[in-house]
Amino acid sequence: MTTEAPQFSGAALAEYRAILGRYPERRAALLPTLWLAQREFGWLSPPVLEYVAQLMELPLAWVTATASFYTMYWKQPPGRWHLQVCRTLPCALRGAEGIRAAVEERLGIRSGEKTADGRFSLEEVECLASCDTAPVLQVNNTEYHESLTVERTLALIDRLAST
């Protein structure tokens, strides 16, 4: 990790200013600004939170309190591929425990951990609102992988491992 203080790129700053224009109060722009910061810096390290507080002229405590409340803001650096396996009832009824166990066995990590090479991390998440295609997992907060079987899950890991 770089020791330099984090700083938005020019493009990110322009995006930040556009975000401010959507709200009558600056504090309301905090969630989208944290999303922007996570996209720019990969995760929300303490220096990144300090930068956001300074940029938005908000107390650091407000920024930290908000960032720490939401699970999709990463307070630890995730792996290159962050696997978010749903564990809620509809997925659990259709084999989510087996999916998670297969991922854990293949990668040699448990939920909440990261592989030594930093390629993969694993998290159990609650309902992703894709219960008709259970079991599901999401990768890097964005991509859904639905109607999984153990074979398809392991194939996904193989594909991600080579990219």
Partner: protein
């Protein structure tokens, strides 16, 4: 109902594109509402239609709108609840991703009705694709003159902004959602005051669910009487039912409100795979009490389900066949609520944790549970209900109480055996993670 309205996207390819949407009659409802109706008339039409909220509480939409102050110097806000997080519910995601203009029309017409010029759609963080699609729909609509200054030349101004959540079930609670929109933790507020008078940024605010708003253009085009005639008069309309778990065809089904639960499970969703027996069904998302196999001849509308001892909630129907352990099921649900409790209120913060702990002891405790644990669950649940700021505590307690009450012998068997009779194994891959 032969005709699909809310799910026209199933019949019309690429309906999410503005040109396709307009070619199929899109934005005619907006034109009709804005050019031929006053805001008061629209509130009246929605009131007469008996439209009730599709997010879970079932509150009458027109009545909610009429709680706004008649005279106010403050701006009025519309906050669209697209935080769809109730386990077993996946209908709003479908509308946002596949038919965003239908929702956008609902937003425009409703904003006009409540004299709102800024609407925010709060989309849960996990819906990255939905947020992207909705942003694209907003841009298209703005370009075409359906949004922005002077909508359709009527002098009505409206901006719609996407606000993404970041992973928190509680932000689906309307005041938690408002707090989150303001950049804070999603801590629900004490009510009153209600959002209609003191909402977003301290201003009058209406919070409506995605599916609720998607009904509005259809009501405008076809009339309040048409809507009220579908299903029971006091809880009418087309309704999206989400079916998951042990059925042959899991999915979202658009059916008249009041369609029997048995018909939804066995006809529409194809019944239970392998002709196994039904053991239980949760009718309205994880917050709602379970029905046993003998209780499924209930019409799926708000009043009938409530009369039968549960709630229609978000209409997330989760089906469990005879192989399912109900202690395990209660545990999976309790774990969810423990994870999602915001921690403000002691009965919820502590109670959700205790429910999970005692259920885990029964399911995986290797003999540490006792017969007294079964009543302990009821005791904990009893102390969680009606004692907190928002309904999450009740939402955790109600299903726990229903599982224990309706499947009590199974809970007692777990305690007597010292293990789960269905899955006599240690909790998968937690063997080393938990003491």
């Amino acid at each position: 109902m032969a005709e699909r309205l809310l799910l026209r996207c199933r019949d019309i390819p690429d309906l999410r594109r503005l040109d396709v949407y307009v070619a199929h009659g899109g934005y005619e409802a907006t034109r009709k509402a804005l050019t031929t109706c006053s805001p008061e008339q629209l509130v009246g039409i929605v009131k007469t239609s008996n439209l009730r909220g599709r997010g879970g509480a079932g509150f009458p939409t027109g009545l909610k709108w009429s709680f706004l102050p008649k005279q106010t110097a403050k701006p009025v806000y519309l906050a669209v609840n697209a935080d769809e997080s109730e386990p077993g519910t996946f209908k709003d995601r479908l509308i946002i991703e596949q038919d965003p203009h239908q929702l956008l029309e609902g937003i425009i017409i409703s904003a006009y009705a409540i004299r709102c010029h800024t609407a925010y759609i709060y989309i849960r963080g996990e819906f990255a694709l939905g947020a992207e699609r909705f942003e694209a729909a907003i841009a298209e609509a703005r370009q075409a003159g359906f949004l922005g200054k002077n909508v359709l030349g009527t002098g009505f101004d409206l901006d719609v902004w996407v606000h993404r959540g970041a992973g928190a079930y509680i932000c689906g609670e309307e005041t938690g959602l408002i707090e989150s929109l303001e950049g804070k933790r999603g801590y629900p507020r004490i009510k009153p005051p209600f959002p209609a008078t003191h909402g977003l940024f301290g201003c009058p605010t209406i919070v409506n669910n995605v599916e609720t708003l998607a009904c509005v253009p259809h009501i405008v085009l076809r009339g309040a009487d048409w809507f009220r005639a579908i299903g029971p008069e006091k809880s009418p309309g087309p309704k999206l039912f989400c079916v998951s778990g042990h059925v042959v065809r899991p999915g979202t089904y658009e059916l008249p409100m009041g369609t029997p639960l048995r018909e939804i499970i066995y006809d529409h969703a194809g019944g239970i795979p392998g002709d196994r027996k039904l053991k239980g069904v949760i009718p309205g998302g994880a917050s709602m009490p379970v029905f046993t196999a003998d209780e499924i001849d209930v019409p799926m509308d708000m009043d009938s389900v409530q009369k039968a001892g549960s709630f229609l909630g978000s209409a997330g129907i989760m089906v469990m066949d005879e192989t399912v352990c109900m202690v395990w099921t209660a545990l999976v649900i309790a774990r969810f609520f423990h994870h999602e409790s915001c921690g403000q209120c002691t009965p919820c913060r502590e109670g959700t944790g205790w429910l999970e702990k005692v259920l885990r002891r029964l399911e995986y405790g290797e003999g540490t549970a006792t017969a007294a644990d079964v009543d302990l669950l009821l005791n904990i649940a009893g102390n969680m209900m009606g004692t907190t700021i928002c309904a999450l505590s009740d939402a955790a307690a109600m299903p726990a109480r229903a599982f224990v009450t309706k499947y009590r012998a199974e809970f007692e068997e777990h305690a007597a055996l010292g293990r789960c009779p269905f899955r006599p194994i240690a909790e998968p891959s937690r063997r080393h993670a938990h003491a």
